[in-house]
């Protein structure tokens, strides 16, 4: 009788222990399966979200060319179908990588995308869409986070050589050089007449070699300041590169701030007013012009009215900045040549993001997330080829860490 009781107790104990052990083991397998389903759902969401963003122009459809905020979010170019993205809607996204700039004269913060020192795209926060507003419009706030990245596929690099009259231009794609590419370039040479800067602008088209490179003979002398914009195209793939030969140690130059997308207004500010708060400073004289990107990716000059004037920082509020108006919503590049105390240079600003192939990074930070699903599409922005990539993560559910 005693041995039977002991047998029962041992058996029950062992059985319970084994049951608990197996529950734990099976639970782990089930957990992994549930996690797989969650991740799979996130990946599907990433693909859907990317298509939703890229294949809808938003509401209203032309919100990128106005100063109003959309009620529905989308980036497609309203004049086209398929994966053609609006150059202006992209400009109105608040960049998540550049340090924002505060400008005292307008008392506003600006979303900042600055490439290579003198190529600016500064959009005021009151015109730039922020991440939380976009997640609300997409209906994913508190459920998913995302980061959207648009990167130009073609890289056009411009390097100066020992000979100041020759620059080497190389075009390459994501995994291959753009051999025998057709390269159309615009050379803008800056000089000074009296106090005012002037420029000579010239256009030409050449063909690259099998490595995607070509040496351009440009009509400049050593010490000249110039800006060079090159469009490279081959077999339907188009990219753009730009280069300024200026003295980057020059402390006085012009910084363009976008003031209105609807009216095409751009404020030209004295660099000291933005970077260094010690007025007064010497005047910066400028001469603004706009080069229009035509359908065959050649550039045409469109002179601006009120293009020649000067900015003085610290001598009176009326000259703190100047306005120029870009009279078109066709993509192009605003070129501002400037001079101050016998130094001169040029700054560039894209009007329509694709015209200078500026990259875009918008949204949250995926590096802090436990699981991130990505997807990509090939798109065109103003005719320029971009890779659009989205990273999506879940903000709720099992084993997702929120920090």
């Amino acid at each position: 009788m005693v041995s039977s009781t002991v047998d029962h107790m041992v058996a029950i104990t062992v059985f319970l222990a084994a049951t608990l052990l197996f529950i734990g083991l099976f639970n782990q397998t089930i957990q992994t399966a549930v996690l797989y389903q969650r991740h799979r759902a996130t990946a599907t969401k990433a693909s859907d979200l990317l298509d939703n963003i890229l294949l809808s122009p938003g509401v209203p459809v032309n919100w990128g060319q106005t100063d109003t905020f959309p009620t529905g979010f989308g980036l497609q170019d309203p004049e086209f179908t398929q994966y053609k993205i609006s150059s202006y809607s992209l400009m109105r996204l608040r960049s998540s990588v550049g340090d924002p700039v505060y400008y005292n004269a307008t008392e506003q913060w600006y979303s900042n995308v600055t490439i290579d020192g003198q190529n600016f795209m500064l959009v005021p926060y009151n015109l730039a869409l922020d991440y939380s507003a976009v997640t609300s419009m997409l209906g994913i706030n508190n459920s998913y986070g995302f980061q959207l990245t648009l990167t130009p596929i073609v890289t056009v690099s411009i390097q100066e050589t020992v000979n100041p009259k020759v620059v080497r231009v190389t075009a390459a794609g994501a995994g291959f050089p753009l051999s025998y590419a057709t390269m159309s370039y615009c050379l803008l040479k800056v000089g000074t007449k009296g106090q005012s800067p002037y420029y000579d602008i010239s256009f030409k088209t050449v063909i690259a070699d099998e490595t995607g490179s070509v040496n351009l003979d440009i009509d400049v002398e050593a010490g000249d300041s110039y800006a060079l914009i090159v469009y490279a195209r081959q077999g339907g793939l188009v990219g753009v590169g730009y280069h300024e030969h200026v003295d980057f140690n020059l402390k006085r130059y012009v910084i363009p701030f976008i003031a209105s997308f609807e009216n095409g207004t751009v404020l030209l500010a004295h660099s000291y007013d933005v970077h260094v708060d010690t007025p007064p400073e010497s005047a910066v004289f400028f001469n603004a012009t706009f080069v229009l990107l035509s359908e065959d990716f050649t550039l045409r000059e469109m002179p601006l009215t009120q293009a020649k004037t000067f900015i003085v920082y610290g001598h009176g509020s009326d000259k703190t900045y100047e306005n120029v108006t870009i009279p078109t919503h066709n993509p192009g590049i605003l070129i501002v040549t400037y001079s101050s105390n016998n130094d001169e240079g040029a700054v560039l600003m894209p009007w329509g993001l694709g015209s200078m192939a500026f990259p875009v990074t918008f949204g949250g930070d995926p590096s802090k997330q436990e699981w991130v699903a990505t997807d990509m599409r090939t798109v065109t922005v103003g005719g320029i080829a971009y890779q659009a990539e989205i990273a999506v993560w879940s903000l709720e559910g099992y084993q997702v860490i929120e920090r």
Binding site: S3, D7, H8, V10, A11, I12, V14, F15, A18, F22, L25, F26, T29, T32, A33, Y36, H39, R40, T42, A43, A46, S47, D51, Q82, Y83, K84, I153, V154, A172, G173, A174, G175, F176, P177, L178, S179, Y180, A181, Q234, G235, G236, L237, V238, A373, T374, D375, M376, R377, T378, V379, T380, G383, A385, Q387
Partner: protein, 438 residues
């Protein structure tokens, strides 16, 4: 002891079950959990390559190594290095049992790796998709010459805002595809030659269409026509001779705005005379001009008649529905609402044996025709002996109305190429594969 053994047996069975479940319930690779959507990537890549129709061009010119090689470079450059591809072009035949025939392909790898997907894209040949070939006027029944008076020694009147030269150029662009020959008459001397039935470039003078771009004025050649056309102190007789020539050669005379033949112009001949408004090189004829022209057209005896046969009141008029049809057919869209200020009276139809070949606008006051093509046919005859297109509208002239009137009257056909014709469509299939680790 037996219970313990039974429990151990249960443990062994459950362990076996767990091992079996663990063996079969293999966790997928991360690539399978969150796969890159290769199908969408390949589709968007094809769309991007065709955004300026380069892909379409390459798909139809696979023998052209420059274009085909350019496509391969662009494709290689646009895809990330860990993605390999195979692009194949198929001809869409539709005539045989085999619907798709492979034309050519390119690839950067022998196989497409562990995971692959593809998408297809239909491209159309640029040669045929939008191709429209117009029938030439006179191609089947003689004539077919378009003369555009672009005389450098004559001024225009009521062509405000334009010059004769710019109007002539616009007319050339609009109408020359529809005519066998289009000749710009560059001077009054050349105009004299065709009035004398001499060709300028070997064209056919008979049955031609002549458009006077000088508006209310008409070029007058010095010499015979200026001499013979000057009777009783004005040049209405010259207009009579013009009417005769229009009848003799079965011309169609087009007056683009206002009064027809209200002035004559020759900057050399009338260098010291003006049109009563201070424009030298021009002489006033008045309404006697159109009366004389119609007399000549109807082979009546010339008599100077300055009585008005037009209404000079301003009246809004609209294009008639049949003209809307031709607007759509020829793709010419002037404003459908115009202002009539020099409409001809319907009495000319009976007085000069004229028939309406084409009515362009609604009439007003029941008796005035703002714009129409008049065919001259002698009573009891069926042959057309000269025509007049008179647009009695206000300045500035819309040259598209003249083009529309001529095309609506002659009705040359447009031959549209069929989009679905054989050998005009090809399918491009892009298959992408992933290489590298999981």
């Amino acid at each position: 002891m037996m219970r313990t053994i039974e429990v151990l047996i249960v443990i062994i069975i459950v362990t076996g079950a767990f091992i079996a479940v663990s063996f079969f319930a293999v966790l997928p690779w991360p690539r399978q959990v969150s796969p890159m959507n290769l199908r969408r990537l390949s589709f968007t890549t094809l769309q991007m390559l065709d955004s300026n129709y380069d892909l379409s061009r390459a798909a139809f010119e696979t023998d052209n190594y420059t274009i085909w090689g350019g496509l391969q470079i662009a494709l290689s450059a646009s895809l990330p290095p860990n993605i390999i591809y195979n692009l194949t072009v198929y001809e869409v035949t539709g005539q045989t049992t085999q619907l798709y025939t492979m034309v050519d392909s390119m690839s950067n790898a022998e196989s497409l790796g562990t995971t692959s997907d593809s998408s297809s894209y239909l491209v159309a040949s640029s040669n045929v998709t939008f191709d429209v070939v117009p029938e030439k006027i006179g191609e089947h029944n003689g004539g077919g010459t378009l003369y555009i008076l672009n005389c450098s020694d004559a001024y225009g009147w009521w062509i405000t805002g334009y010059t004769s030269h710019s109007l002539a150029q616009d007319l050339y662009n609009l109408l020359s595809p529809y005519f066998s020959e289009t000749v710009m008459v560059q001077s009054s001397n050349q105009f004299e030659q065709i009035l004398n039935n001499n060709t300028l470039q070997g064209e056919t003078v008979q049955d031609a269409v002549i458009i006077n771009t000088c508006g209310e004025a008409v070029p007058i050649p010095a010499g015979y026509y200026a001499t013979q056309g000057y009777v009783g102190g004005n040049y209405a007789k010259y207009c009579y001779i013009l009417g005769q020539r229009v009848r003799q050669y079965n011309w169609t005379w087009a007056s683009i705005v206002g009064y027809p033949l209200y002035y004559v112009s020759n900057t050399v001949l009338f260098a010291s005379q003006h049109n009563t408004y201070g424009i030298y090189g021009m002489q006033l004829v008045g309404q006697a001009g159109v009366n004389a022209f119609l007399q000549g057209l109807d082979n009546k005896t010339y008599s100077h008649d300055n009585d008005g046969i037009t209404s000079s009141s301003n009246n809004p008029v609209n294009l008639l529905p049949n003209i809307y049809y031709y607007c759509n057919y020829y793709g010419i869209y002037p404003s459908p609402s115009q202002t009539s200020t020099r409409a001809l009276h319907t009495s000319i139809l009976d007085d000069y044996n004229l028939n309406l070949g084409l009515d362009m606008f609604n009439r007003f006051d029941n008796n005035y025709i703002p714009g129409a093509m008049y065919k001259h046919i002698f009573d009891g005859d069926t042959d057309i002996t000269g025509s007049l297109l008179a647009l009695g509208l206000t300045r500035s002239p819309d040259i598209r109305l003249t083009a529309l009137g001529i095309l609506s009257y002659y009705q040359p056909r447009l031959y549209h190429s069929e989009y679905t014709a054989n050998d005009t469509s090809r399918i491009v299939v892009l298959q992408l594969g992933l290489v590298g680790g999981a």
